[in-house]
Symmetry: C2
Subunit: 203 residues, 2 copies
DNA sequence: CCAAATAAGTCAACAAGGCTGACATAAATG
DNA sequence: CATTTATGTCAGCCTTGTTGACTTATTTGG
């Protein structure tokens, strides 16, 4: 089993074929055709209109990220570097632990990327003043320039899309996207957004 | 076939001056501060409000995909399998070439994933009727069930987000997302969407 | 009719960026 | 002073991308 979360092992084979299957705690065993017979009443099919949004999100993200990739490739950097640099530049003095919580990757994964960013002079680390164990992260001038360049590229695309969608004010879209984040994360994401953010109060 | 690599090159030294390296894979000297001097007029800084959308898109996608991962892990499947299965189930009889164009990955990458999906009975391939070179892709009943389950999961999240954003009708969001796709791709994406799709005409 | 183009598959090697587990170090804290 | 915390590191593995160089059927165009 692939491990996404440690607690995933909890899913264990359930019931026999005639066990009433709870939709959310489904079985695990390699599902054969017999496991999903026509006899099991098919759940209400997902609204095609809603599925459209899922697909649009995929296509939007697919193309959106590729644009920055081209620039990053000039410097032999990848998306992982981009994300780290962006959030560091965005929040100067960010702690490593905070960055980890934003990116939701392991510290070993981040370490590899961060090491390259530091070695190549995109990011510098300063010892924390109140807590000298901390390595506060700052984008160098060079790092700020690159981050700025990438931000501009992506901001332009967002701007064009907002206009194309006939929206001078994208508040509804911001609220939609914020609501798409996990509820447990929403407050943190909201807190991270700039004061001028196009989202009002979190519900 | 593919011309853009989303992942970047190695940190390995490339080509001497007489070896005309591919533009995309050329190793570039570490950019020093001198490469981005103040003399180059600093562009207008990106609107923080627009950058917010970039971040929200990141967070939304980050959490959105993790939800399906949990289900996929039960079957030892990954996101690559999910994407392939989804679009096959969505368009029964899809050609391999079409799927490649949707996913924007190489056929070698797809082959690996597709082989597993076929071997494990999620997808079957039929010889094309008009063109017998084609291997038309269909989700098996089992594959349809899984795809349906994942779609339902994601559709529910979209639905909740639409409601939370106070939108009974998400047309503006659909238009926004469609506009976020590359202009060259937009027509194809639009054509793929179901008739009931919440987007009117492409401009 | 046959040469060339096309649809798809395959082998081999490699890169990027995730992951786990185990351990190291310095500083803060009770 | 023992323990916890913030961070770093080594070693190895997995998924999913990539290139390049073919092969096999089948269709198509001259």
């Amino acid at each position: 089993m692939r491990t996404i979360d440690p607690h995933m092992q909890a899913y264990k084979p359930v019931a026999t074929a005639d066990a009433p299957a709870d939709k959310r705690t489904r079985r695990i065993e390699p599902v054969t055709a017999a496991d999903t017979p026509a006899a099991v009443p098919a759940a209400v099919p997902p609204d095609p209109k809603l599925v459209t949004f899922v697909e649009l999100l995929f296509f939007a993200y697919r193309d959106f990220t590729r644009e920055a990739d081209v620039v990053l490739a000039e410097y032999n950097l990848g998306r992982a570097h981009h994300r780290a640099l962006h959030f560091v530049n965005r929040s100067p003095g960010l702690k490593v632990a905070e960055l980890l919580d934003i990116l939701k990757i392991t510290k070993q994964s981040l370490a590899r990327v961060l090491k390259e960013l530091v070695d190549q002079g995109w990011i510098i680390q300063h010892e924390g003043t109140s807590d000298r164990r901390q390595r506060l992260l700052y984008a160098t001038e060079k790092g700020q320039h690159l981050s700025h360049r990438l931000d501009t590229l992506q901001a332009r695309r967002v701007d064009e899309a907002l206009r194309a969608a006939g929206l001078d004010n994208g508040d509804s879209i911001a609220r939609f996207l914020l609501s798409m984040t996990s509820s447990e994360e929403r407050e943190k994401v909201w807190a991270l957004l700039p004061a001028a953010a196009p989202v009002s109060r979190a519900p």
